[in-house]
Symmetry: C2
Subunit: 238 residues, 2 copies
């Protein structure tokens, strides 16, 4: 068994409570040393909740005379399904998720967090900020926890990326019998977000982690919005 | 940054081409040494393709006078969508996926592979076989690559498990503001399958890997069929 191609997933501890206007790259840079904590080619996964807080994507429900449902409605461009309090809707980004990503957990009482406006841009800002502060070229994924149809339970997915391919196209490759593979586009950023969730978890208060050992060929510019979000016309379930 | 809670994902190299009747635990045991390659509490992720081969879940299309579409039909209990050659259907297991999981890649020309009959049982058999041969108590996940609606690209999910919780219920826990979390059931087996895919990949010929450092509380008996598969009546997208 070779360790050469092993991946490591390491939680980043010590991130303080994040508030509006905080610079996430600065807070993260204070938690890690350029080496050995952060190496060139590492992928830093940051949960969207702290990005939303830093980017003022919080709403004071009472002050605005709003219910959570009002915020969900404002964040949705299309409702796909409703059952009781649960709304499955398409967000302004094109994501399809529960309650348009509006979340009351891990925010102050009476407040709601909305998804970042442009998670790809958020990821680039964190990546650029870490480069400026630590001199290390990393990739960044902004992640969130989504449900899915047909299978119970939630998994983390990538909302935005910087410096990492959201999708890796294996169509040019061959299977182990030498035949060309057809239509194997692997959503590696989503798999990295899912992997990172395993060391973070909703309850532990760890909002960022590092994935080390990612295939160097995957480290390119990319966009979740452009490459992962499926257009309604292409989608069989909308 | 603490390394204590880090995860490692390590590919298992050297698995030979698997054929009908092969005992996977025996083939895997020949690739790893009990220590340091395999430790108690490790999660061994095995792709369903090699499980299908070992379990005679292959069909000779020409000999049976069958087209791939015939096999897809036979493996489906319900078709959800069709577009061109693509069928999204529900399998006998309750999985919803493309072409009922029937796959022509990484099998001999003219043959098709079907999903294992009972992937939870397949996982238990591999787990029991590794325990018998190596004296190490590991968990096992049988994984496969599924697409999903709304997002492009495929990710690996768990079809069967042994010794690991498919879903971890955080509903008893509190967020970092001390409030009870509602309805946060994390599909950790799917996240582990996704993480493992990152070191395996469709094209590299690596069909198994080890995830080390998994939270010990997740190591319990479980079943993907009982805990992950959502019943049609509970599902909003069927």
């Amino acid at each position: 068994m070779r360790r050469r191609r092993a991946l490591q997933i390491i939680p980043i501890d010590g991130l303080p409570e994040v508030g509006p206007g905080d610079v996430l790259a600065e807070l993260l840079a204070a938690c890690v040393r350029p080496e050995p904590d952060l190496l060139a080619g590492d992928v830093v996964v940051v949960t969207s909740k702290v990005v939303s807080k830093a980017e003022h994507r919080l709403v004071d429900l009472a002050a605005g005379g709003l219910s959570p449902a009002d915020v969900v409605e404002a964040e949705s461009v299309r409702v796909l399904r409703r059952r009781g309090d649960l709304v499955i809707s398409e967000t302004t980004h094109g994501f399809v998720c529960a309650n348009a990503g509006v979340d009351l957990s891990n925010v102050a009482d009476g407040w709601a967090a909305m998804l970042p406006h442009d998670p790809d841009r958020s990821a680039r800002r964190i990546r650029d900020g870490l480069r400026a502060r630590l001199g290390v070229e990393v990739a960044v994924i902004v992640s969130d926890t989504f449900g899915r149809p047909w299978r119970r339970g939630v998994t983390d997915v990538a909302l935005g990326v910087a410096g990492i391919a959201p999708i890796v196209d294996l169509r040019g490759c061959t299977d182990s019998f030498g035949r060309p593979l057809v239509a194997t586009e692997v959503a590696v950023a989503d798999e990295l977000a899912a992997a990172a969730e395993l060391v973070m978890g909703k309850a532990t208060g760890v909002a960022a982690s590092v994935v080390r050992g990612v295939e160097p060929a995957w480290l390119r510019e990319g966009s979740v919005r452009d490459e992962v979000v499926r257009s309604p016309t292409e989608d069989l379930f909308r």
